[in-house]
């Protein structure tokens, strides 16, 4: 009986899994992810047909309202499509959304007894002309946003 027990114990012993290769992969993954890590708190779901211009400056993007304009002049407010910039109704809608957001910001700043310029993150396609860019800048300025943060892509 004793002999039988001993045999059973040795048979049920689980073999150690060799995790060396898995660890190697994890280390590589870790280095790759660390390289891509950014402390920016801004997340932008890039619209279709939108290619960012390149720049070598490294100003960390900050959280704030995001307005995107694609190469076909489609406007997005906080990643939601509004429509073509050529339409007056879309411009009115963008203005009212920005005004509402500015009013919310004012309330927050008033509660915190702070006064600081309101920032707006602007994401334009690199092929757009200044005519289109100026149109959006004017809308932002009229809504009370005095600080434009032009979002660019890092030049590797």
């Amino acid at each position: 009986m004793m002999n039988f027990r001993r045999k059973r114990k040795s048979n049920t012993k689980v073999e150690d899994i060799d995790i060396t290769s898995l660890l190697d992969i994890l280390v590589i993954l870790l280095v790759f992810l660390l390289k891509n890590f950014t402390d920016s708190d801004l997340t932008v779901d890039m619209a279709k047909e939108l290619a960012l211009p390149y720049a070598t400056q490294r100003g960390i993007a900050q959280q704030g309202v995001v307005v995107q304009v694609s190469s076909s002049s489609l406007v997005y407010y906080n990643n939601q499509l509004i429509g073509p910039l050529s339409s007056d109704s879309n411009i009115t809608q963008l203005k009212s959304l920005l005004n509402n957001h500015k009013a919310e910001l004012d309330l927050k700043l008033e509660a915190a007894k702070k006064s600081e310029p309101k920032l707006i993150n602007l994401v334009f396609d690199q092929s757009l002309t200044y005519e289109t860019v100026n149109q959006v800048l004017s809308i932002a300025a009229d809504s009370g946003f005095g600080m434009y943060k032009l979002i660019v892509q890092g030049d590797e």
Binding site: I19, L26, A55, Q57, G59, T129, M147, E156
Partner: protein, 170 residues
Amino acid sequence: MLKLRSREEQKMERLNLVPIMDAVFIFIFFLLFSAQFIKIYQLETQAPIISTIPSDKKFDKEPLSLKIKLSNRKIDVFTGVISKLEFSLYLDEENSLQILSEKLIELRKVHPQDDEAIIAPDISVPYRDIIKVIEAVQKIPEGLTLSVDKDGEVKNLKKIFSNVVLEPLE
């Protein structure tokens, strides 16, 4: 039995990697969520503000009033309250933006108090060219430093001109 014991003693103990694996896994999830595969950065510009200067105000030194006009592939740099053309450059020229930065550094050294530049692009100028010029106006080229004497104190600047204003179209 004695033989077996001595073998066990000789066998090296394996490291327990389970806790470190747990930590690495958590770390990977954290990094995956914070990773940005398109690296986005920002260039800061300001909305133009109209202010009036009292007509009786006298300046110790004429303000720089830097204005950079950007038309199709051409950059004209004006200074002074009554705009005077300082120099012109073409974007297609080799190192034109580097030259622009270097010349602006010289202007900034002469006018340490003026930290503002107005960029006035034409209606048809592509946005990518505007970004290039904004960057040239702000970024000090590699290998160069800019220190100015501000109120008797020498300061190292991080940008040539910090306040960049995009002039609205008329």
